[in-house]
């Protein structure tokens, strides 16, 4: 069993250092030993060198990177091996899976072709044999009807299916080591849970050793045997999963673990729900319908179907649901960015669309929008000061000097020094950019804020800080908020009420604590179950296995 410390090492990385032509090395000193059949998690904040370490193993560093130290596999030194030498190892002995299933597959080739190509690279030339093996592989990664799927193009598969195909590719030549670089980050929680279970089963069946790179401590707790914590290119701590979670030695590990948001254990006590607010809601959706594509051409896609929802003044409503369930659409609808196909949207009791054009602008003035991607939501050409000022400029609020003063106030409100007004977005970190976006949203004193996954692009620790700030500002300023997120833990932390969307329909709504503790709907329960719990003692897979044995 992998738990045995006696299994022999298959991959040994010693004193690996990787540098680019820039002051700080990407990886400074990393030593890791991977043992046969184990799952080793590599964790750490963004930029800590996780991916670089994994890429160095297969000689896939970006151009310009220099690596020193040693990476030994099966007694062979991999660092500095020729391209031809590496090609013998790549795929056949050590395989790698990448984060983005959407782009990791060639869009213009069928998956059958890509599987055959992977097999061909290591000697399987016969087309028939390759096809058979491809079907076998697809079956192994639990893709239904594998024979039919061979002729599909990547875009015809769902995200989870694509990630399974990527796994199948990596497993094609039965490698001894699998390097998985954030293989589930881009996926829904439900899909993520399935993929993780699949990884675990593969390890069990083939004895493949897996290096799992992730920043999600829940995932680590779920399946890793051992954990290696990286910080700024160095290994800061290493240990058996359960021990490390229970007794982190290093302060960095401790912060990392502390930043992790947790859901209450299922079935915990239900607090009494607050009575429904009788005031006019900040926003109210009445039986709204949204369709994408022209209905005239018969391609209309119903993104929202008969959804009714109210957000009371000062209330934070979390909107959750799987990818594609219509969360973003509902948020954009409030902001007037998508056309309404049916129903009504009321802002403070006024029907926006029924209002004359001139009034519509004023109605919307009390509304602000924070986008998921802090990078894309700021114009790269404007200084952050100008970006924050923009709403004031548009509505000609006060004199220019007053506007500048207001910018300084807002910066302070999001806990950034006023000197930052001069910077360009790209001179800021992700978390800082998201604060700027927040500051801009608050510029006109909105009564309603629509936040579309505002923290999903951020690191756990940064996310924690931004959420903290958000919560604080919300309490202080008392704006209502529609908070969209696929991360149930985040919603749990910030929201008063939660609404669950599924395929364009509202399935459940209610106070957060009630819904999360005692979901009325099956769908909600599945969502909650799929969330990895950052606590190795409550590991589900293990539990199942322990029960079975």
């Amino acid at each position: 069993m992998p738990d045995s410390p006696l299994s022999p090492p298959v991959l040994t990385i010693e004193h690996l250092a990787i540098s680019f032509a820039q002051p700080r090395p990407a990886v400074e000193d990393v030593s890791v030993t991977l043992r046969q059949g184990e799952i080793l998690a590599l964790v750490g904040e963004s930029g800590s060198g996780k991916s670089m370490t994994a890429r160095a193993v297969l000689g896939l560093l970006p151009p310009g990177a220099k690596a020193t130290g040693s990476i030994r596999y099966d007694g062979r030194e991999l660092l500095g091996l020729s391209e031809a030498g590496l090609n013998e190892v790549r795929g056949a002995r050590i395989a790698m899976v990448f984060q983005e299933p959407q782009t990791a597959l060639n869009p213009v080739r069928t998956i059958g072709w890509q599987l055959r190509e992977a097999l061909r690279a290591h000697g399987l030339r016969s087309r028939k044999a390759a096809t058979e093996r491809a079907i076998e592989l697809l079956r192994a990664v639990e893709i239904p009807e594998p024979e039919q799927r061979l002729g599909s193009y990547p875009h015809q598969l769902s995200g989870g299916q694509k990630q399974r195909v990527v796994l199948a590719l990596a497993l094609a030549n039965e490698p001894e080591v699998l390097l998985a670089d954030e293989p589930t980050t881009a996926l829904d929680v439900t899909v993520q849970a399935e993929i993780l279970r699949l990884l675990d089963r593969i390890r069990e069946r083939t004895g493949t050793a897996i290096v799992l790179i992730t920043h999600n401590m829940g995932v680590v707790a779920e399946i890793a045997d051992r954990v290696v914590v990286l910080q700024a290119g160095n290994v800061v701590e290493e240990g058996e999963t359960r021990a490390l979670f229970a007794r982190p030695r290093e302060p960095y590990t401790r912060t990392l673990l502390a930043s992790v948001l947790r859901l209450p254990a299922p079935g915990s006590a239900v607090p009494i729900a607050a009575p429904a607010d009788e005031a006019t809601p900040a926003v109210e959706f009445r039986n709204v319908h949204v369709r994408y594509g022209s209905s005239r051409r018969g391609r209309a896609f119903p993104a929202l179907n008969d959804v009714s929802l109210r957000v009371a003044p000062g209330e934070v409503v979390g909107l959750v649901g799987e990818s594609g369930s219509g969360k973003t659409t509902l948020g954009r609808l409030a902001a007037g960015l998508v056309p309404l196909a049916g129903g009504q949207v009321l802002l403070h009791g006024a029907d926006v669309l029924a209002a004359p054009r001139s009034e519509r602008r004023d109605l919307r003035r009390g509304l602000a929008f924070v986008h998921q991607d802090p990078e894309a939501s700021l114009d790269p050409r404007l200084s952050v000061g100008a970006s924050i000022r923009e709403p004031l400029d548009i509505h000609r609020v006060g004199t220019p000097a007053e506007r500048d003063a207001r910018v300084a106030e807002l910066l302070e409100a999001v806990q950034l020094p006023p000197s930052y007004a001069e910077r360009r977005p790209r001179e800021l970190s992700g978390g800082q950019r998201q604060r700027i976006a927040l500051a801009r949203a608050l510029a006109l004193d909105p009564t309603l804020l629509v936040a579309d996954e505002p923290t999903s692009a951020l690191d756990v620790s940064v996310q924690a800080r931004v959420l903290e700030l958000f919560r604080e500002l919300q309490e202080r300023l008392g704006f209502a908020c529609l908070f969209i997120s696929h991360d149930l833990a985040v919603v749990h932390k910030v929201a008063d009420r939660v609404a669950v969307l599924r395929a364009g329909q509202l399935v459940e709504t209610g106070p957060v604590a009630t819904v999360f503790a005692q979901p009325a709907e099956d769908y909600t329960r599945r969502l909650l179950d799929a969330v990895p719990v950052p606590d190795p003692t409550r590991r589900r897979g293990r539990r199942v296995r322990e029960l079975a044995s």
Binding site: L60, G91, V108, H155
Partner: protein, 319 residues
Amino acid sequence: MTRYLLSRLGSALLVTALASVGIFALIRLVPGDPVSVLAGPDATAESRAAIRAELGLDRPFWSQYVHWIGDLARLDLGPSYKLGGDVGSLISDGALNTVVLTLFALVLAAAGAIVASTAAVVWDKRWLNSLLSAVNTAAVAVPTFATALVLVLVFAVRFPVLPAGGTPPAGFFSQPDIALQYLILPGLALALPAWAALTRFLTESLRTELRQPYVTTARALGIPRRRIVLTQALRNALPATVTVLGLQLGSLLGGAILVEAVFAWPGLGRLVEQGISSRDYPVVQVLLLLSVVVFVLTQLVGDLIHAWLDPRVRLNGVS
């Protein structure tokens, strides 16, 4: 897919229809009178009036236009004012020459570009890249007419190994080997800038493709770089290249005017020039419309090939 095609076809037809009115009006606005050109300096007023009536130029504008479109619909292009003969047969000879030359140049440019850019990307040698980029820049920087003349001087006059110009005396198809020799110099002069543009674009696309995650996936599977370039990156870079190729066709047609002049290649370029200078409305109208149709068709065909090469468009109609 079909719907996508239909909408493209619709806008193509609209452009062509607009163009026909525009061209018809435009050419009549050009100062200078076909009748005086035709009659010559020594003609009397009566003879000019007689010619005007004979050409139907005394009718009102709209009636002339309706007649023209009606004739076009019946594939009757009418007679040339100047050359007397039917515009259709007049153009068909020139069109054949121009089409053969342009297509030859297009094939030369496309094939050359694929070879050059895959070689540059597969080998990725410093000297090869420098050499290619130098040749490339030179090919763009030297005007077509200069290249053409230098080619004539070197390969036809100084070292007479290839014909100095003209079309193959026996036509293109009865003696293909001879025809090829006649095509080489003008084809080369015409193809060079297009080749350079295509090579640059394709090399760049291939490099971009090689940075895509799917290439990393393939590399991580141990597939050799050369194979990745040839079977995957190239396949992904082609759809966009086809679009660029379509745009190049336009510049090739433009360049053909110069090359045809230098190589005494009796193609459409000369017809356009002469047609305009002699105010031969029927010829010019048809030629200009033809150029619009070719442009529109190229775009359409380019889109088609693009769609066919890209399964996302082919199967879902999205791009």
